[in-house]
């Protein structure tokens, strides 16, 4: 941490931000929360806000406000919890407790995520980001294909040879003739499917066929492609990656995704920084220590 411009660096340090914000939260809480000053040795004060919050929580879950009896019972529980909590702290029961340790660590992590609430992005930033990350907003790829089906029910042992002959003829033509009926058998599956995604196609041909289909180079005849029905010769006219919707139509959704990414990036950077500030000593020399990257939200 030795640097010629130590003070300047400190000002940019997220950890310092964090500590300052922590102090601020603590101070504000102390000023605003009447329970804090009154919660001395033997007084518990339940504020109007707390009652309100208990009320709201109940109503959200049960679609009605609690009855007086229910509210009283909830408040009794609440007060009891507060008292026992104070007693526990006084006895030092918060130390050496894995659950509490984890919970507090979680709180810091949550805090790190609310540390810097990103400003809503400018149009420029959002457009640029959407252009780079369109995939999560895009519908599944669709395929337009023609296919010739050779039915083993009709052709029996000659199915394979017939398929090879038909494939030869089609490949020589190198296009899709207007009428494919001369090349194969009809009545099981269609010869032309426009703009279907892999789920739709697997309901027609089975997933085995679709797994092969997605690997085929477009605008060429391929075969034999097998399905549960028999042998297919396939020509993919085109694979369409549907255009992502216009930003204007899904702006709120994109903005939310952008904000989420910002928060996650900043939180991760912050936790990385914290980790860097520590010397870690592991007292078991036998165990090779590989520190996995710490991830936000873990």
């Amino acid at each position: 941490m030795s640097s010629p411009n130590r003070f300047g660096r400190l000002l940019r340090d997220p950890l310092i931000h964090f500590l300052l914000i922590g102090v601020a939260i603590y101070a504000t809480y102390g000023l605003l929360d009447p329970t804090a000053e009154n919660d001395d040795a033997a007084t518990i004060t339940v504020s109007q806000e707390e009652i309100q919050s208990i009320n709201e929580q109940w109503t959200r879950l049960w679609n009605r406000p609690p009855t007086e009896e229910e509210l009283a019972s909830m408040l009794r529980k609440h007060v009891r919890t507060r008292i026992l909590y104070k007693e526990a702290l006084a006895m030092g029961l918060d130390r050496d407790d894995q659950v509490i340790e984890r919970r507090l660590a979680q709180k810091v992590e949550l805090l790190s995520r609310s540390l810097v609430v990103p400003e809503p992005p400018s149009d420029e930033i959002l457009v640029a980001w959407y252009t780079e990350n369109p995939d999560q907003f895009r519908a599944a790829d669709t395929y337009t294909l023609s296919q010739v089906f050779l039915d083993p029910d009709r052709r029996g042992d000659s199915t394979g040879a017939d398929a090879a002959a038909a494939l030869g003829a089609l490949q020589a033509m190198d296009r899709v003739p207007e009428d494919l009926s001369a090349y194969g058998d009809s009545g099981i599956v269609g010869s032309y499917y426009a703009g279907r995604d892999s789920t739709q196609l697997s309901k027609v041909f089975g997933s085995g066929f679709v797994n092969q289909l997605v690997t085929l180079e477009p605008r060429r005849w391929h075969g034999p492609v097998l399905s549960g029905y028999g042998v297919h010769l396939v020509y993919v006219h085109q694979v369409t990656k549907p255009e992502p919707p216009a930003l204007a139509d899904i702006r709120a959704q994109v903005e939310e995704a952008w904000m989420l990414e910002q928060v996650e990036q900043r939180s991760a950077a912050f936790i990385d920084e914290l980790v860097e500030r520590y010397d870690v000593v592991v007292e078991a020399t036998e165990v090779p220590l590989t520190v996995p990257p710490v991830q936000a939200g873990e």
Partner: protein
């Protein structure tokens, strides 16, 4: 080869001018023209789905350790990967469903997950604490689990968990989740729940379904009443308030002979009013699910060599076989017609549905993709193949994979799928997505099923599965039936198509006759003159590797027009189709091979998966019935002499 013409529907979805090549002609399968044209299809498309599934919101699923959520159940149906809460296994369907109805038990609907949710007011109830107690002994009769189960089985509610507010709030959460996943045109989530009446272990369960996007304010539960008539009253009152609905009874096989009984639930022979209410409220019944087939039992169908299929007869948690008479669909068809003769209404005019009744929050219709049905009771291969008897006096391996309901609907939306189910244009399968059309009329010509316009002509000149035949025209001697079946590309080839005729014989007894209508490998298989049956298709399954081959036996597609050779115009009859696949490995065989475990001795290593259509009914004209009755009573002919003209 058949001529292929370019259809306007295909043109409208083609991206005109997008390619240098001319647009090739496209024809769908013969039985499913104009599918995915982007418009509601008057000739209807088939949609496959699950209509019977439980999640952690069902109390019995919860107590066996299932923690799957509604969301996860829908994601599974959509073909996304989900993680099983019990085993941690990541699982995924090979072919997604078109629709899913989650049907959690109405009793304590959505309550159990609250007992382990810190934010719930139920978290601190004594039962919740007991449930979470790590030292609790589950076999203690007073354990939380046993308390919950006992309350369900005896129909005595624990008051703190059945307040209308609680029920309503849980139901609303379900409705909101279902609405979120409902994607008209692509994926339908039907609203429904299970009414769980189980007096003395007799399965009288009904699943209840709603057409709209809200359903009732509060579900009617078996705590409210265990009598089917009270459920019907609830359904009727909902309908008069504009909330369309129907119910599907299931597991007649485990009802101890109560499900299709000619007696009313509270005793005494069924009267006309009861029969009419049953018919109006219950259009479909489940022909198969995890807990067995309810088509028929080998005892009742001794001449049906395929009747011994996924039979389960030990009543749930009772460990004994119940009465089997009045428990099965095929005999119920005939019994219903006999009752119609007396009462004027057929109470058992059931179309066909199928499902899983899985209590693990996913629906395993793919035989090769089965991961258990009942939470931690069968969440590992070793437990599933355990030869030791369970609480129902049978083994976990007897459980079947999921059945599937197929519906013929104009489009994949809630109203369209609901309407198709209510009108019975449905069929059930033992799992595979077999496609099946079945029409009945009086003048189908023999080549109809090979016509390009087969479906259009079949609708124009007759009725689809689930309907009544139109009156017999004077010139027609017997009804004709058109049937088309196509295999699931991920499953076995088709062996044969049969038409099963259920009728009331002249002594008033249920009769059945099975006709092989069309079959594969016709050059090597002919009807045996001694038995009148088509010989078995053969078996390519290698049980040591759990593999089979479609190369040498079976067919992609089977289709035929069939005329009833034994038609008696004075006899009521119901005709339904059974399509059989070639033998393939049962799930137990796949599991045994994958995990190097022995096969179970009490289940078949290979099965012939199948589809069953809803029936088409024939009813003799009223005046002819009356004539016959009068003649029987008085010994001579009454009324206008039978002219043989159109009636």
């Amino acid at each position: 080869m058949k001529k292929i013409t370019l259809k306007p529907a295909a043109l409208s979805i083609a991206i005109a001018g997008a390619f240098a090549t001319a647009l090739p002609a496209g024809a769908d399968s013969v039985g499913e023209p104009d599918r995915d044209s982007g418009q509601p299809n008057p000739l209807k498309n088939v949609y496959f789905g699950e209509q019977h599934l439980h999640t952690s919101n069902s109390p019995d699923a919860f107590v066996v350790g299932t923690r799957q959520t509604w969301e996860q159940a829908y994601e599974w149906g959509l073909g996304k990967e989900v993680t099983l809460s019990t085993s941690g296994e990541k699982i995924q369907k090979s072919t997604p469903y078109d629709f899913v109805a989650i049907t959690d038990h109405a009793e304590y609907f959505g309550v159990m997950p609250s007992l382990i949710d810190k934010d719930s007011p139920l978290f601190q109830t004594p039962l919740a604490k007991k449930l979470r107690d790590p030292k609790a002994n589950p076999s203690d009769p007073e354990s939380a689990i046993n308390q919950i189960l006992r309350s369900l089985v005896t129909g005595t509610p624990m008051k703190e968990f059945v307040s209308p507010e609680l029920q309503s709030s849980n139901w609303q959460r379900y409705v909101e989740t279902a609405n979120k996943y409902n994607d008209p045109g692509k994926f339908t989530t039907l609203l429904g729940y299970e009414w769980t009446s189980i007096p003395n272990g007799r399965n009288m369960h009904r699943n209840v379904f709603f057409r709209g996007d809200t359903g009732p304010v509060v579900p009617f539960t078996a705590f409210d009443s265990i009598y089917p008539e009270d459920l019907w009253t609830f359904l009727e009152s909902q309908r008069s308030a504009g909330i369309e609905n129907f119910a599907i009874p299931h597991n007649g096989n485990l009802s101890d002979g109560w499900m299709f009984s000619p007696y009313e639930f509270l005793g005494g022979p069924m009267d006309a009013r009861y029969a009419a209410r049953q018919q109006a409220n219950e259009p479909l019944t489940e022909i198969i699910q995890t807990k067995g087939s309810s088509d028929t039992h080998p005892l009742f169908s001794p001449n049906d060599e395929f009747a011994n299929f996924e039979i389960q007869q030990n009543m749930i948690n009772v460990g004994q076989t119940g009465q089997m008479k009045y428990g099965y669909f095929r005999q119920a068809l005939a019994d219903g017609m006999a009752l119609e003769d007396k009462l004027g209404t057929n109470p058992f005019k059931y179309g066909v549905a199928a499902g899983s009744d899985n209590h693990g929050g996913y629906s395993p219709n793919e035989e090769f993709n089965y991961h258990g049905s009942h939470g931690v009771l069968d969440d590992t291969p070793a437990k599933r193949l355990n030869p030791v008897q369970n609480a129902s006096g049978t083994t976990n391996g007897v459980m079947g994979s999921a059945g599937v309901t197929a519906v013929w609907a104009t489009e994949n939306t809630r109203p369209a799928i609901f309407d198709a189910m209510k009108s019975k244009e449905t069929y059930g399968t033992s799992g595979p997505l077999i496609k099946l059309r079945f029409f009945g009329g009086w003048k189908y010509k023999s080549g109809l099923v090979k016509d390009e316009d087969f479906v259009e002509e079949a609708y124009a000149d007759g009725v689809p599965m689930g309907s009544d035949l139109t009156p017999q025209p004077g010139r027609a001697k017997a009804p004709t039936f058109a049937v088309w079946a196509m295999k699931d590309p991920e499953s076995g080839n088709l062996d044969r198509v049969q038409i099963i005729k259920s009728f009331v014989n002249k002594w008033g007894l249920a009769g059945e006759k099975i006709y092989d209508v069309v079959w594969s490998d016709e050059s090597t298989r002919q009807i045996d003159p001694d038995t009148g049956k088509v010989p078995p298709v053969g078996n390519t399954v290698d049980v040591k590797t759990a593999t089979y081959s479609n190369d040498s036996i079976g067919a992609n597609q089977l289709r035929a027009v069939w005329t009833d050779p034994d038609f008696d115009p004075m006899q009521r009859a119901a005709y339904y189709v059974r399509v059989l696949e070639i033998p393939t490995p049962r799930w137990t065989t796949y599991e045994a091979v994958r995990n190097n475990l022995p096969l179970l001795p009490n289940v078949a290593a290979t099965i012939q998966e199948r589809a069953w259509s809803s029936p088409i009914w024939y009813t003799p004209p009223q005046e002819k019935i009356l004539e016959a009755k009068l003649k029987k009573l008085t010994g001579h002919t009454w009324g206008p002499a039978s002219s043989g003209g159109d009636n």
